[in-house]
Symmetry: C2
Subunit: 360 residues, 2 copies
């Protein structure tokens, strides 16, 4: 049952996002967007046992169906994994009419999307995101790619899916910690571009934590709509799209410092958003009460609100200097002019950073 | 000294091709198209000793210059080589303002262009092609990629360069066999879309074989212009662009059968073009004399005019069935309606193929 349908408007590359229950088993909907006779279903060894058969049944008999099951985990988001996908797909003889289907979270989506971007220089791609984070983040934007030992997402492509099917039933098998990590990104959208949604979250977060389906579908829809509006204005990340990185520059530094996989991405972003909010408040842009309300919201969502103990301002400086968003040696950070309006600055001084960490 | 400048018209992704002498050392021209402070120069161990220093001198001092020298040869056009380029580029800390510069033939150009397409989801790319084949083929079209053990160019991206500088001085260090291989593609352009150029080649091929610079520059310019016209009409290879594959479906089968590197790509294409011409003549589209004139032209260019002995029609059938251009099981081939006008057909019968090989 489709609760919401959203159209991501990117000219020739426009596509629909469906949000609802039972979508993984919705044969009509899947087959409407996978017209070809060949399908490559990519998943991981956590998600495949739960949902792969449901999708395969819905896809029905085809000329060629290859199921690739990756080991679960961010450490497998590598060029080597990509190579192993191509080994399977070529051995099975898929041609350029094939469709890659990503069934899983952000890692599966990013790797599969990148594989689809590169296979025979680009084939169709459909996303079935099964984590809250991937549903509200990777569903929109077309970013695909893999990590390198020296940096996250350093190798990739922009490749838009043909359709995204968000089945909120999958959230019932998601560990609580990962649901929280997804909520960090949901909360981000209110902060950067939708004050009304932020107010809604202040009222409705308990319904999300209680897994109320109507509330989940609403939160996912508003998050995707926010991201779609930002991406439509800036598909290739030249300008305004950068506001999507609220909390992410700090967050990536935390993830790198702790080693990938120790803190979940959303957890690191949550702590990073608090730092960005504190910096914004120190500039007088948002109120101290706004920061406190954000911290209370994140705590309700069982998210961290401060960096890991033992991480110094020097650690942040070193790690952030390596960020993709550093241009010509200037650190760029997303701050909040007000709740619901983010801006990118490149003039944060060493003093501001030092004070931020002495206060935190 | 620039002899010709050609503009490839692709909207936002338009770029110039310069053809002339001494361009690799032309600091003004290079720096005009490489504005950033960071450069990755990729070459191979044959070309680098001859020309890399000249390019590095012309680039002048920059914040970051990384020289990557790959082993020479098609067998290194792999995902592994791509990984090694990223290792170097990330270790040296290049950000997304960097420019990848490809100095070499088609392999260097394809791998470097693909690396540029994927590095941080896409950075600038400038091509300095040093073989006749890469000058007339890879300069236009934006195709980049690597091979897989199960097929050529199976992994890649469309990524347009910012500029292409064709220095015909480099042809003086090119082995004669590779010059001939490049001429196969030059001859192809006349056949598929420029009868006037075909007539020019029938008169001027001896000047090309004698390395007359004005003739070389003219042949390169007309080849690039032909390819640019075809690509501009069909950037992503949906339709008319397929005519660029005249001789290539047969040619790929020959290369695969012999093992990559035994026959040069251009040599296989030459033999493939004769087969396509014979098929076209058998349908009454071109004259038998046209076929004979083509064979004479290819012989003058020291190119093969028939498949390797021992390759049967069954070998061709099996290998061509695996071609990227096979859609829904139908073999697609480029034939000549007349000299200077190619067309794609998908109705070549088993009988036609059998007669072709019994006659050849």
């Amino acid at each position: 049952m489709i609760a919401h349908t959203l159209h991501v408007d990117l000219g020739e590359r426009s596509y629909p996002i469906y949000i609802g229950r039972g979508l993984l088993g919705n044969a009509e909907l899947l087959c409407r967007h996978i017209g070809g006779k060949q399908v490559v279903l990519v998943s991981n060894d956590t998600v495949a046992p739960l949902y792969a058969q449901r999708v395969l049944d819905a896809l029905g008999p085809r000329e060629r169906v290859t199921e690739v099951v990756l080991p679960d985990g961010e450490q497998h988001k590598t060029l080597d994994t990509l190579g192993r996908i191509f080994d399977r797909v070529l051995a099975d003889g898929h041609n350029r009419t094939t469709t890659f289907v990503a069934l899983g979270g952000g890692v599966v989506g990013d790797v599969t999307g990148f594989a689809a971007a590169c296979y025979q220089r680009g084939v169709d791609f459909v996303q079935l995101p099964t984590t809250l984070l991937s549903q509200v983040d990777s569903s929109v934007g077309g970013k695909t790619g893999v990590n390198h030992a020296l940096g996250k997402n350093m190798i990739g492509a922009f490749h838009q899916p043909r359709a995204v099917l968000i089945d909120i039933d999958t959230l019932h098998t998601l560990p609580g910690r990962e649901l929280s990590a997804g909520l960090a990104e949901v909360i981000k959208y209110g902060l950067i571009c939708d004050a009304g949604f932020h107010a809604w979250l202040l009222d409705n977060l308990p319904r999300l934590m209680a897994m109320e389906e109507a509330a989940l579908a609403e939160a996912i829809e508003r998050s995707c709509a926010s991201k779609a509006a930002v991406v439509a204005a800036d598909e290739r990340e030249g300008g305004v799209r950068a506001i999507l990185n609220l909390g992410h520059t700090f967050g990536h530094a935390i993830e790198t410092h702790q080693g990938y996989g120790e803190w979940l991405h959303g957890e690191a972003v949550a702590a990073g958003m608090v730092l960005a909010a504190r910096l914004s408040a120190a500039r007088g842009w948002i109120a101290g009460d706004d920061v406190e309300a954000l911290i209370a919201l994140l705590r309700q969502a069982k998210l961290p609100v401060a960096p890991p103990t033992g991480m110094s301002v020097a650690d942040f400086r070193t790690l952030m200097a390596r960020d993709k968003k550093v241009l010509d040696g200037r650190l760029r950070l997303v701050l909040l002019r007000e709740i619901g309006a983010a801006t990118v600055v490149d003039d944060v001084s060493d003093d501001e950073l030092a004070q931020l960490f002495s206060a935190a």
